[in-house]
Amino acid sequence: MKSESPTGHQPPLVLSSAPHLKGRTSIERDMYIVTGALLLPFFGAVYFFGLYVLLMLVTALITAVFSEYICKMMRKKVFRMDGSAVVTAILFTLTLPPRTPLWIVAVGAFFAIAIGKEVFGGLGQNIFNPALAGRAVVGVSFPVHFTEYIAPTAPWLVDGVTTATPLAVGAAPYWNLFIGNVAGSLGETSALLILIGGIILIATGLIKWQVPLFFIGSVALLSLLLGQDPLFHILAGGLMLGAFFMATDYVTTPLTTKGKIIFAIGAGILVVLIRLFAHMPEGVAYAILLMNAVTPLIDRYIRPRPYGYQGRKMGAIR
């Protein structure tokens, strides 16, 4: 709304409601920080598995952005490059084995966006982590492609041979696990690079350090109690990636810090249970998806205490 100043010598005025100051936060900024942090483990994957990985990412990126565009058109909504499709594409690629056929990458990226996000109403409305939803769809649909993992195969390393992942075999030297020189999904590999990316996210305030701590901590504790090697369980598989980049996705995890901690502990317990008892070597994806489903419930029970609240405990919202 504009109004002319009667005195004429001053410019017209804009009317808006308070606050008239906005912080520099934006969805794009958040998403591109996450993208930046994710590029570290991604380039680690390129280093260990070769340039084919880049091809996978490009496929995923193009499919994801294009799918989002189509979905927005069909829903008659404005399409925006808010960066969330980019994050989903990278995360999804990192959950795949190094030699996944490109058509599977494309199908998965499409499902991640269309089924994982847009059917719920777009970014912010989705219940499940889109990348993990896409991964679950292709994992269930084309299982044969997800049992064969190759050891790191970049031409500058040794020749690739098809092996089982350390989790399926149950052993690998810690140091190789830590820096990422093991067979596995692209992002299951370098704990070190994920850690650096995670620290970037914590330092920029995008994620709470409590989440990875409690996630990884509960995995370690429970595996110790069950007579397993906790360090191995931490470093092997997608736990690090999940703990820093997936269990921290703000859209699909609880709102309060307390709720986030409950989510992290729940996911940690589920990971160990799935790994040991469900005959699936890797449980992180399913553990997080299950906890995603519980998130609305957690949010109903865990609320901050309002100022001046007189009761002892905040009740749940019906």
């Binding site: 005025l13 409601s17 958040d30 970014l123 912010g124 409590q210 901050p304 100022y307 609240y309």
Partner: protein, 445 residues
Amino acid sequence: MTMKTRICDLLKMKDTVGVHPPQQKMTAGAVIESTQLPDIVTLMMKQHSGAPAKLLVKQGDVVKTGQLIAEATAFISAPVHATLSGEVKRISSVVHPLTGELTTAVTIVSDGADDWVETVMVDPDGLSREEIIARVQRAGVVGLGGGGFPTYIKLQPPADKPIHTVIANGAECEPYITADTRLMIENPERVVAGLQIVMRVMKAEQAYIAIEENKPEAIARLRAYLAQLDLPHVHLFVLKACYPMGEAAVLIREVLGVEVPEGGRARDVGVLVQNVGTIAAIYDAVACGKPLVERVMTITGMVAKPKNLLVRFGTTASHLIALCGGVKPGGDELLFGGPMLGIAQLSYDSPVTKSVNCVLVKQSIMKEERNCVRCARCITVCPMGLMPLMFYNYVRKTIYDRLAEYRLETCMECGSCAYVCPAKIPLVSYIRIGKDELWKQTTDK
């Protein structure tokens, strides 16, 4: 500290902090100037919360500066005084610059003399409690921090709610504004003397002057002044700097570590919070017999020379801005108040009222509203421990019953949540709609 709070602190599970917008206090070093008086003032009959004042003058009357021109009509109301000497030119109905409602206003054209009514200095120590309260009431003193609540009412709490602590609010946490800070630096004696009057009226045991840590000059000045006087019951309290530290509820929690119960007021926990500007006005009213006709305002933002000015009420924004060298190119938003709480004005001719602490010209920001992404930043910063995104959710879905469960009434509309929202959702606007709906529901029943 209990075990539980210690664990909570360790895990940082308490989410309540506030925000740190850029300070922009460009007038922090600018001495308060009394400048050329305007030729004309437009006085609103409602410069306070409560009932409008009743007009006592008619067109053509000649008035002196400080003369009573409208009297309080109800318990919650305040009188209005002429802020210039001259002739009552017009009595009209105009849009109120703060509420937007049509309000009676008196226009006085100056005779250039600024001829004051007689005021008598008295020694406040010689006055009884009732006399002090009466003088505050007659002088038309209202809360100058923004609320505009008639001060004399706050000075007489019900007998079953004794006040043990007075907090002089010098936080001034909003960006740009430096009116209170300058007042504390330049007139610490008025603030402290006023505070002593308030303490005596309230029979309070102790008082705090609360200032944010980022105002070292004001802190040093008051500390030195208090040391000189050696007042055992008046303490300086240095606050952490964050917005909205100056909101009474937050201030009480910060200074005394107690919370005002839901739906209650500060007096329920035995506390009186007064803005330092109001306290100085109390001193002027009681000791000098001076009615409230002027106050310190910060004229700032995109003006050529930002200043702190002693401003007569009813002066138009355009006059004040002209005194500061005019609007700089790009300034297209005029606010009465700071950037977080200020109210946008329709025109540069809007007259200032008692509760305007700042006239701010800035560049408007128009950000497109997007869907909430559940980033929870609004929860993290809400000083009242609320979940602002829930207000947005349920107002959008028009499920108003839920709003009360999420304690909408506790929200003080500080705007911290809207400030941090990456989706640029105008959360305060949604909150106001929600409050209107809740209010409608209670009145329907």
